[in-house]
């Protein structure tokens, strides 16, 4: 899995029938800053993931890829390869807090 920031959403009306009613969010994968090792930074990539948790723009989330994206009750039969499996509260790396949801603006 990877950490990602929810940065937006897409609208698609012409789609595979089973996809109707599923929220599609745009997520930007994050990684540890290689220089400071004290914060998370964007990888510059852009993915689309299904959300079933009520995630919103700005949230840091956990994203599962591949066939396992179908291992949630709402996504079992969907043609999807990425799903949000958690909204992240905090991230600690090498004893330091590098993310705390309660301190976000």
């Amino acid at each position: 899995m990877f950490l990602a920031r929810v940065i937006g959403s897409i609208v698609s009306t012409q789609k595979v029938a089973s996809m109707k009613g599923h929220k599609l969010l745009i997520v930007e994968p994050y990684r540890l800053d290689a220089d400071t090792r004290a914060s998370l930074v964007t990888t510059g990539r852009t993915f689309i993931a299904v959300d079933t948790l009520g995630s919103g723009e700005g949230d840091l989330v956990l994203v599962c890829q591949g066939s396992s994206a179908r291992l949630t009750p709402e996504t079992k039969t969907l043609p999807i390869d990425a799903v949000i499996t958690g909204i992240v509260d905090s991230v600690h790396i090498e004893k330091k807090s590098v993310f705390d949801r309660t301190k976000e603006a």
Copy 2:
């Protein structure tokens, strides 16, 4: 999943029998422009995806990869690893519209 622009198509007459009759489109994955964060730009990569929605050149589409590409009614038994699952109408990132199908040329 990822966003991609349909840029072309391929023709193949010698192919695995089950692939006959399936439309193969060339798609170019897009990502958020890292500098402006106000538009989508190409990643420079080139993939082939099966289309079952009537997508055409120039369309921005949603592409699903991996075994989940077989989770649509038309692709269940195909040796494919990518399928177009939606034609995108609009994309919003950080409260800005970065794509609107009705404003495309």
Copy 3:
């Protein structure tokens, strides 16, 4: 899937028993030339794919990766992650012909 040029082959006598008798070709993935957008160029990567179509060196082919590589009649139970699913006749991108098998040397 991706487009690739068949550039060679490998011989392996000590192998998993089920792999005996299957042709293993070396394929080089191709992408659209980002500058001219008028031809296909190598990505510089090197993969091995099983061939069941009689593909030969120099052919441009369609390659399927992942578990779907096992969705052809000849590859159902093989420990493989890539199979050639089509020999490409022509590729059109942005209304231009960027590959035509009949015009290859």
Copy 4:
């Protein structure tokens, strides 16, 4: 699989129900140093993996990705794409010891 160093952990309270109670660790994939070929160095990437072995920060571990991450007794039905399958004691490359757990600080 790949070798990775456990560098931290995440906390997520709003998550897919089946994920409750599973430990989520942050792992940094390592590779052989291309220059010296005598030590392991970080790739600069950041992944999240489920741990069922009691791995702790600083451990070098073996990580399995994809659907096979569900092939352990504790992870069979989870929406996960990475699991720690071993805590590494030693690594030998080209006859040299490049990692020895007993010599770590």
Copy 5:
């Protein structure tokens, strides 16, 4: 699949129970040299693969990734994503021999 050189091995005593007794080798993926197109060179990446063929350090091998790594008799139920499926005798690219096992030191 990809070609790789076996460069070492790892030892892990604390591991998922089903992994006990399986040999874990370190493999370095190879690709065609883009300049000369006459030899194979390392990609600089480092992976771990299960071996069931008796591969040894220095061998050039064929590696299968993903769920298909479980499609050999010895690996059916293992949490692994890479397996060695062949020891390579020779590689020919563009009519040239770029690898011959009998000529290795």
